[in-house]
């Protein structure tokens, strides 16, 4: 193996080919800061990546009490030692000189430093005032997908049983809400059916709106390694951009935005028409096939071709691969979840697996993915619009059980309506019924749609805004109180990745200044508020990460996400372990539903389901009559045209997304020099056809406008679908002169200046991938190219003279050691 690879130029590193049904060989990626030699490292401290949902296990090098580098953990089931570019370089942001080190409070319009007592007393005093004057519905909490399990659980208890508010949600609403909802609709309960090991066994892997190469680069390495080994899988890719996945696919479908349901219905139609249906599996495990078959009967490839603007023959070719696969693995992400009819489309992918009986066996599985590292915990701990432990808010016995765990009266826990989702919370704040919003670990002033509206909500005098973060983000600049938080590497806790693998993340170094772990901040606030249980004892009885984890275990006991077999000590040293992990499954559980559907019974299920078009809730009576025995549910959905379609004024479709080098609003990744240099500023992607028609070329300064607003960026001409524009959503304003918004005379650069406020009525996930837009030239380029990576989906089109655009490289500072580690390569043949 090449000991030294530029991992900006080669984000996925060198290949370690392996054949089907073999185990993935280890490859240990190590990066140490310049000038630090391996023997200078005092300690290696165990953790996992916090910059995507893959859960890449790694150790942090500590030298002189500071972080000095990272190394992948070869023994871990998720990554076998590999790290992605963000894992390798973004840790450097921890030591940025502009980290928040002291709490801030607003005095006479300005944020000024203060001590913790002043800041938290102000938050507690405002909370008490609001509880007295306006009741618990006036207080809302908007959290993250990047805190730890122990922190979400504490927040869920203090918000739901302490304050007694229904308003607690995470920014996971933007990344993973549809995954959870689609699983509830099909299986009655959240819980990832498949696992990453399915990549080792599948003969067909279908990626639906999932740019795996950039969102979870380490699992893409796994697929690349299988593509170079014996009996490689064939890939089906549904994506309107020329992603790395699309470039390696046997069949690539690039549909018009907002037409996923039409495309999927046609694929289901073909599979049913050609008789590739597993009737035995369905008889044993499913309800609803007749309804589904009737609904897709007219959805021929020719019909869908018209709607999706994809050749009917290609739809047929994709259906052929999906229909003849011996072990089919599907993965789903934002191209489905953040697009029109999100849940309806994600559910059709579950249907595909159910009618083909592709579930619960090695290589046959569904991965409804997450975007964020700890999104799974936001979901299971009840900080993401659900009750903790996947309990059903409509089921009184579930609420009573939760009340027993917390020792409170069931009436204390709001359950008269579903927990309020994030977009609705911002609406309540806009309308003035929410008067305090506590935002932890997220940056809505850049990440939510229609930013001028979000800024005007956060900027209201009557809204008391608390922001808990690492940096003075765009959102923090609008806050009344800013709480400096310790982050990954500076605190201890656990988190769970998209395939249910629980990892421990140990504290490696001290946080800067007075910054405190999020858990300590929540516990301090709870103590000041003096929350009590029904016997007058303290509501929150834990005091540190380990005792918080033990409390969570009691809440998770007997639930699908059972953690009772885990503890911090057990997670230290070896590989991460997949939940459920309990007495019956001491080593964890690789796949759910290996022996039938387990959590869909009317008395057990997390949700009675919703109407896939209107989002209307079903009641238990309907659920019981539809699914009395708790089987998987095949739910059909008709295609509906998107709400915003191109017209004369706004002739393009606009989608937003990410690049492999950045995470979210760049608060960390822009502070890592290698990552920032790879993608330093916003750009706009358009197709060669559209660029030629408008007389535009690489590097021209263009403006993208919608009815909501506009942004400017340099143009990159790519092989993207004609009629479509793409803008990365990472870029905000903290590193511009104006600070939190476009300046008076400077144009916007955040993608969300343009996006529409609209969400999937079922999962309540906002739609970032279905808007109409205009494109115009502002100024000719000076011969330079757009600041867009050439290594990824933003690669210049070959026809546009790709040679003229300099390749993205990292140089000496991006050299990473990749070494084999045969200790962990012992053959691990799985029973098939």
């Amino acid at each position: 193996m090449d000991p030294s690879v530029d991992r900006i130029a080669q984000p996925w590193g060198a290949r370690t080919p392996y054949g089907r049904h073999e185990s993935w060989p280890a490859r240990v990626d190590t990066y140490l800061a310049e000038g630090v030699a391996e023997d200078q490292v005092e300690r290696w401290v165990q953790t996992a990546s916090i910059l995507h949902s893959d859960g890449d296990a790694m150790d942090v090098a500590v030298a002189d009490g500071r972080m000095a580098g990272v190394r992948g953990r070869a023994q871990d089931r998720v990554n076998r030692g590999r790290l992605g570019p963000k894992d390798l370089f973004a840790w450097q942001a921890n030591a940025s000189p502009d980290r928040l080190a002291r709490p801030l409070v607003r005095r006479d319009g300005t944020l000024v430093e203060c001590d913790w007592d002043t800041a938290l007393e102000r938050v507690a005093a405002r909370s008490r005032e609001l509880l007295d004057e306006r009741g618990p519905g006036s207080i809302g909490f908007y959290t993250s997908g990047q805190l730890f399990l122990e922190e979400y659980y504490t927040l869920a208890v203090l918000a739901r049983a302490g304050i007694g508010t229904n308003h607690l949600d995470g920014n996971t609403r933007l990344c993973t809400a549809t995954a959870a909802e689609a699983l509830k609709e099909s299986f009655g309960c959240d819980g990832q059916p498949g696992c990453y090991d399915d990549i080792d066994h599948a003969d067909v892997i279908a990626l639906f709106g999932h740019n795996l190469a950039e969102t979870q680069p380490v699992q893409w390495m796994r697929i690349l390694d299988r593509l170079e080994g014996g009996d490689p899988p064939r890939l089906v890719c549904v994506d309107p951009r020329p992603t790395q996945v699309a470039r390696r696919a046997a069949v690539h479908l690039a549909p018009r935005l907002g037409t996923n349901v039409a495309l999927l219905n046609a694929l289901l139609h073909e599979i049913i028409r050609t008789g590739r249906v597993d009737h035995d599996f369905m008889a044993a495990h499913c309800v609803g096939f007749e309804e589904l078959a009737a609904r897709v009967e007219k959805c021929t490839p020719a019909w869908a071709a018209e709607i999706c603007d994809v050749p009917a023959a290609q739809i047929g070719a994709a259906a052929e691969l999906l229909g003849t696969a011996d072990r089919l693995l599907s993965t789903v992400l934002q191209g489905v979840y953040q697009s029109h009819q999100a849940t309806a489309a994600a559910v059709q992918i579950n249907n595909l697996h159910l009618i083909r009986g592709m579930l619960g066996r090695p290589g046959a599985g569904v991965l409804q993915m997450n975007g964020q590292p700890t999104a799974q915990n936001t979901r299971e701990c009840g900080a993401d619009g659900d009750l903790p432990g996947f309990r059903n808010w409509q089921n009184d016995s579930h609420v009573a059980d939760l009340a027993r765990v917390w020792n409170v009266d069931p009436k204390t826990i709001p359950h008269y309506a579903p927990p309020t989702h994030a977009m609705q919370m911002f609406r309540y704040a806009e309308q003035g019924s929410i008067r305090m919003l506590w935002i932890s670990g997220t940056n809505p002033a850049v990440s939510l749609p229609e930013l001028s509206r979000i800024r005007s909500i956060l900027g209201q005098d009557r809204l008391f805004v608390v922001v808990q973060d690492l940096f003075l983000t765009e959102t923090a600049q609008l806050a009344d109180v800013v709480l400096p938080a310790a982050t990954w590497g500076e605190k201890t806790g656990t988190f769970t990745n998209a395939d249910r693998t629980v990892h421990l993340s140990d504290k490696a170094v001290e946080p800067p200044g007075d910054a405190r772990p999020d858990l300590d901040i929540f516990l301090d606030y709870a103590a000041r508020m003096d929350f009590r249980d029904k016997d007058g004892g303290p509501l929150i009885t834990w005091h540190d990460p380990e005792s918080a984890f033990e409390a969570w275990k009691r809440c998770s006991a007997g639930r699908p996400c059972d953690y009772t077999g885990l503890d911090h000590a057990r997670l230290r040293g070896g590989s991460g372990i997949q939940w459920p992990c309990n007495e019956q499954a001491l080593d964890g559980t690789d796949r759910l539903y290996t022996d039938g559907i387990t959590w869909a019974h009317p008395d057990e299920c997390e949700s009675y389901g919703k109407d896939l078009v209107t989002g209307a809730s079903q009641e238990v009576v309907e659920y019981r009559s539809l699914n009395p025995d708790g089987k998987a549910m095949l739910k059909a959905a008709d295609y509906l045209p998107p709400h915003e379609l191109p017209d004369e004024e706004y002739p393009f479709q606009l989608t937003t997304g990410r690049t492999v080098y950045h995470f979210h609003t760049r608060t960390k990744t822009a502070r890592a020099p290698q990552l920032n240099a790879a993608a330093p500023d916003v750009w706009v992607e358009a197709s060669t056809t559209d660029a030629a028609a408008l007389g535009l070329g690489e590097g021209d300064l263009v403006e993208v406008g919608t009815p909501r607003g506009a942004l400017r960026g340099r143009l990159r001409v790519t092989d993207i679908r004609p009629g479509l524009l793409f803008v990365p959503f990472h870029y905000g304003y903290w590193d511009t002169e104006a600070g939190h918004a476009p300046g008076r005379d400077t144009p916007g650069r955040a993608a969300n200046e343009t996006t529409v406020t609209d969400w999937d009525p079922v999962s309540k996930q906002p739609l970032f991938k279905t808007a109409a837009a205009a494109l115009r030239l502002v100024e000719r380029g000076d011969g330079g190219s757009a600041p867009a990576p050439t290594t990824t989906a933003s690669a210049p089109a070959s026809a546009a003279g790709a040679g003229a655009v300099p390749a993205t490289t990292g140089g000496r500072s991006a050299l990473v050691t990749e070494s084999a580690d045969p200790t962990w390569d012992s053959p691990r043949k799985e029973a098939r």
Partner: protein, 163 residues
């Protein structure tokens, strides 16, 4: 005119009315984004129902006209959209929203009962075409009712306690 043509006429009027009402509610509550978008989708269902009722009525020699849109409702909705944006920061429109959702629910319930009548009459007269029509449309009317009920259930606690 027999009873069936009477029911067709009443239902045609009711669905047309609901389509217009959904459209104007969407306009009036532009800042309630979910209500706005879903109401427009559901207005589409009622417009299809209107069209299918007209087509069926032709078989009975009944002319119900083909105008599914109501220009007045559209004009009014343009005016109210602007008004809704102007009061987007106030809590009082929440009460108006609850009232509008209630009215939509009642209008859909009326239609639902008329679909029930029509389906019963279709069975009594062994009129398969009419039964097919009712079987195709009635479930969507029930879904319109379930949606308004869900929205009221979800929004009422905050609106009524947050004034």
């Amino acid at each position: 005119m027999n009873g069936i043509t009477l029911a067709l006429r009443v239902l045609h009027h009711g669905e047309k009315n609901l389509a217009g009402h959904l459209t104007s509610v969407a306009g009036r509550h532009r800042t309630e984004h979910e209500v706005h978008h879903v109401a427009l989708d559901l207005a589409g269902w009622s417009r299809v129902h209107v069209q299918r009722l007209s087509d069926t009525a032709d078989h009975y020699g009944l002319n119900l006209g083909d105008s599914a849109g109501t220009p007045l409702a559209q004009l009014l909705s343009a005016v109210t959209e602007k008004a809704s944006e102007a009061v987007g920061h106030r809590p009082e429109p929440g009460l108006l929203l609850l009232r509008d959702l209630r009215e939509l629910h009642l209008a859909a319930a009326e239609n639902s009962l008329h679909w029930e009548m029509l389906a019963q009459a279709a069975q009594a007269t062994k009129d398969d075409g009419l039964l097919d029509l009712a079987s195709a449309c009635h479930p969507e009317t029930l879904r319109q009712m379930r949606w308004t009920n869900t929205m009221i259930k979800n929004l009422a606690p905050q609106i009524l306690t947050g004034l």
